[in-house]
């Protein structure tokens, strides 16, 4: 057989298999996990989503979809009533017997890692890409993500040459009240470290602090996330409920940065690099374009 | 027959009852009198097995009381306490019907007995009412009907212990109650009743036990026990004792 025919046959074969694969791809998706839903949308699968969990708040359009509840307390029948072909979620999805009931009903159940590191993200994206028939897009997306994170790293390293890492505290509150402080082994800690900050809190997990401790730590930068409010409202509420914060260096210098709380759950999401940039801008003022 | 010998009860260091030797004879109503704190309720408590005796035993027939159990004991010994608390809206006949618990006499017979016991307590007209809707005196009569039903119709070998069954009753019902008790004894049961009213005791009891400070002061017929000097010594009350014009039993009048 001549080379061109072989190539032609190969192409036809590839196209045919691709077409066959496409018709086997799941069309009705249910997603349990904020970051996953965002990646599905980023890979062009937003139109395939028929139901999402309560942590899936981005993009805005997802809020209009039927809600399957909290990702750890799913209802088998509820999900099945949406007639999905695939259920995607992190290992936090549950309760476990529900997942087997859904599998038994013939729905594909795919679990993804919620680990906040790049290898996990890469395998997640590859997997999602396969399921959506968008493998190319997935690897491109990962590459640009990696690039952005590398750039971020470079920028931070450079900035740290001329400026010291600021002491930072991350507060998670609800309408300003009763804020929890993010310590080690939290995604907030992961974020602020990648942004070049130095977490003044040494405990593990999210814990409340006494007001005295907050003042004695005297952070240079305050990062806060509010579960109930956003924007100026959240900022105002934070200082209204915790007036003592106004006496910190951070408040006096106006170095109070707001963080989107949905970034803190479910592993690495697509909006992360932008948020990191914003944090670094705040940690190392004047280094924005480096 | 319920009896005890040299019964003694202590509470901590204090001796609350001592030197009691007593036999509750079939067909007899024994009244227990005495000022407050004399040990009357303690005696009743010991005789029905609720209080443990520090000295002396209680016998029911040929066995120690503590060896009698469950339904067998309940068929021979019934106790009416001074106060009964029941916070649930049972019907009157259901409360009285609880007295039939130790028996397997069947629904029909139980209903008959309940009705008869209610009539004996002059509470027949309360049939069908809710217990919680009754007055204190009416409730007391219902509980009397219950213990009567427990031993109905009353015969030799059965003992009934009553702790102030007339405390909340009006004069008419004080008499009808004690009359019912009297009739029970007339059928052969042994009855011990704690009373405050000396005249009621004089009228309805065959023998009287007078207690003071935990000790028996007298155990005899009403004529012998109810004497002015004795009553003054025990109760601190000056009294005249006369004879009832129609019935002949002692009549105690405060001076």
């Amino acid at each position: 057989m001549r080379l061109s025919t072989r190539v032609a046959a190969l192409c036809v074969g590839l196209l045919a298999s691709h077409h066959v694969a496409a018709t086997e791809l799941p069309q009705r998706w249910v997603s349990a996990g904020g970051a996953l839903s965002e990646w599905v949308s980023a890979l062009g699968g937003e139109s395939k989503l028929v139901g999402v969990d309560t942590t899936s708040q981005h993009p805005e359009a997802l809020k209009a979809l039927p809600s399957i509840g909290y990702q750890r307390q799913l209802s088998a029948e509820g999900i099945l009533s949406l007639r999905p072909q695939i259920l995607v979620g992190t290992e936090e999805m549950g309760p476990p017997p529900i997942l087997s009931q859904i599998r038994n009903a013939g729905v594909q159940v795919e679990l993804f890692s919620a680990q906040p590191d790049l290898p996990a993200l890469q395998s997640n994206l590859q997997h999602l890409g396969k399921l959506l028939g968008a493998e190319d897009r997935a690897s491109k997306l990962f590459q640009s993500y990696q690039q952005q994170l590398d750039q971020q790293k470079v920028r931070v390293t450079k900035a740290q040459l001329s400026l010291p890492s600021p002491g930072v505290l991350v507060l998670i509150g609800h309408a300003g009240g009763k804020p929890l402080i993010a310590g080690k082994d939290t995604s907030a800690d992961w974020l602020l470290q990648r942004a070049g900050g130095h977490n003044l809190a040494t405990h593990t997990g999210y814990k409340p602090f006494s007001v005295e401790s907050l003042i004695s730590l005297d952070p240079q930068v305050l990062v806060f996330a509010d579960r109930a409010l956003s924007g100026e409202e959240a900022r105002a509420a934070l200082f209204k409920e915790n007036p003592i914060l106004s006496s910190t260096r951070a408040a006096k210098d106006g170095r109070v940065i707001q963080l989107d709380p949905t970034l803190l759950v479910g592993g690495l999401g697509p909006r992360l690099p932008d948020e990191l940039k914003k944090l670094s801008d705040g940690f190392f003022p004047g280094t924005a374009d480096q | 027959m319920l009896r005890t010998q040299n019964l003694q009860i202590r509470r901590g260091r204090k001796t609350v009852l001592t030197d009691i030797t007593l036999e509750l004879k079939p067909g007899e109503v024994l009244g227990v009198l005495g000022p407050n704190g004399a040990g009357k309720s303690t005696l009743l408590g010991a005789l029905c097995g609720e209080l443990k005796a520090d000295h002396g035993n209680i016998w029911l027939d040929e066995q120690e009381l503590s060896h009698w159990t469950g339904a067998l004991r309940a068929q021979r010994l019934a106790v009416l306490p001074q106060v009964s608390t029941l916070d649930f809206a049972f019907r009157v006949e259901e409360v009285v019907g609880m007295g039939r618990l130790p028996y397997q006499s069947g629904r029909v017979r139980d209903d008959e007995i309940v009705a008869a016991a209610l009539n004996a307590s002059d509470a027949g007209h309360l049939h069908g009412r809710s217990y919680l809707a009754l007055s204190g005196g009416e409730r007391q009569r219902i509980h009397l009907a219950r213990v009567l039903a427990q031993l109905w119709p009353g015969e030799a070998g059965q003992t009934l212990l009553l702790d102030e069954p007339t405390s909340m009753l009006d004069p008419l019902h004080q008499h009808t109650t004690l009359q019912a008790v009297r009739e029970f004894a007339d059928r052969g049961a042994a009855v011990m009743v704690i009373l405050h009213d000396l005249n009621l005791a004089a009228r309805y009891c065959d023998r009287l036990l007078l207690l003071e400070g935990g000790r028996p002061v007298a155990l005899d017929t009403p004529d012998q026990v109810l004497r002015p000097d004795r009553l003054q010594a025990v109760f601190g009350l000056e009294v005249l004792v006369q004879q009832h014009p129609e019935r002949g039993h002692p009549l105690i009048i405060a001076r």
Partner: protein, 345 residues
């Protein structure tokens, strides 16, 4: 004079209600199944030879999801109501509830230890997770109740008033321990704990169901036999003793049945409050306090209430689910208030 519902009418009414609840629990749900399919699957399940074509989904939904859930609801509702009756008899007070002897708080403590402790050890093992949680809750409930009972005993006699105080104290202690675990928990564990505390019939499966079914059946068959004795106990412990009842033994049985039953229910379905307090009360308002009627009627009423509550829990926010403890409170409390205001108390 309060007009009561006659026992026969009450039992017929409650049985019909319960059957209706069972049917609705099987027939309704977020997935809408055609009525005919439901009927055909139901008939298949009881052994009739009906062709299975096109019934796969219905069989899965009914057989694997709704039927175990219905059974769980029946068992939990029945045993919680029954335990409520037992405790109201033990404490001779219509406001008593199984939680007074500490079984609920003990179960909550056991669950908290399993959830938080498990995550501290790197997460509960996948296969054992639910079993371990149930087991810890069950043991916690039994443990605290045993302690309360022990504290109430002196000289071979159980003092109910002391038990009550011990129950209150241990409940407070267990509560603060749970609070400590809550503090130590990370975000995700916290959510799991919170949801467990609200109760749910979600995820019912036959393998986890049978211990509860056995225990509930046992308790439901045993307690009604002590109905007359329970009636007499309401007169007072000494009065009941004089009527020939072994009061110490009866009290022991009541505490034991409650600990077993409520412990198993909480282990299987989390904390579902309110049923043990309200159902006996409602039945008493309708049919009087005689335990010969109250005990079996409470089983039927409790089971029905829980199944109806579960229907609301499943459908109100479908495809998500409401925790059932919220629904039982929402249904029970207003109805109870209404009855009280009407003056039937």
């Amino acid at each position: 004079m309060t007009v009561l519902v006659k026992p026969r009418a009450l039992f017929i009414g409650l049985s019909v209600l319960c059957l209706l609840a069972i049917w609705l629990s099987l027939a309704l749900g977020p997935v809408s199944l055609p009525l005919l399919d439901t009927l055909r699957v139901a008939l298949r399940m009881i052994g009739l030879p009906i062709a299975p074509d096109g019934l796969e989904q219905a069989e899965l939904i009914l057989g694997q999801i709704r039927l175990p859930r219905t059974l769980l609801g029946l068992a939990v509702g029945g045993v919680l109501a029954l335990s409520g009756v037992a405790m109201q008899g033990l404490f001779r007070n219509p406001l008593a509830d199984p939680g007074l002897v500490g079984v609920s708080s003990g179960a909550a403590l056991g669950a908290a230890i399993a959830i938080v402790g498990g995550s501290a050890f790197g997460g509960l093992p996948e296969a054992f997770g639910p079993y371990l949680l149930s087991l810890c809750a069950f043991l916690g409930g039994l443990g605290v109740t045993a302690l309360v009972y022990r504290l109430g005993r002196r000289n071979g006699q159980t003092n109910v008033a002391t038990m009550l105080l011990a129950g209150i104290a241990l409940t407070a202690l267990a509560g603060s321990a749970v609070g400590l675990f809550t503090y130590l928990a990370d975000d995700a564990t916290l959510r799991t704990l919170a949801f467990w505390n609200l109760g749910s019939l979600n995820g019912a499966s036959y393998s986890r169901l049978w211990p509860l079914l056995l225990i509930s059946a046992g308790v439901a068959l045993w307690l009604p036999r002590r109905a007359k004795a329970l009636n007499a106990l309401l007169l007072g412990e000494s009065e009941a003793g004089h009527l020939g009842i072994d009061v110490e033994r009866l009290k022991r049985e009541l505490v034991f049945c409650t600990a077993l039953g409520v412990g198993a229910a909480v282990a299987a379905a989390g904390m579902i409050g309110f049923v043990g307090l309200v159902v006996p009360h409602l039945v008493r308002l309708l049919a009087g306090p005689d335990h010969r009627v109250l005990l079996p009627a409470s089983v039927l009423a409790g089971a029905s209430l829980l199944l109806f509550a579960d229907l609301v829990a499943r459908l109100a926010l479908a495809p998500a689910e409401l925790p059932i403890g919220i629904v039982t409170a929402f249904i029970g409390a207003p109805f109870f208030l209404y009855l009280l205001l009407r003056g039937r108390a």
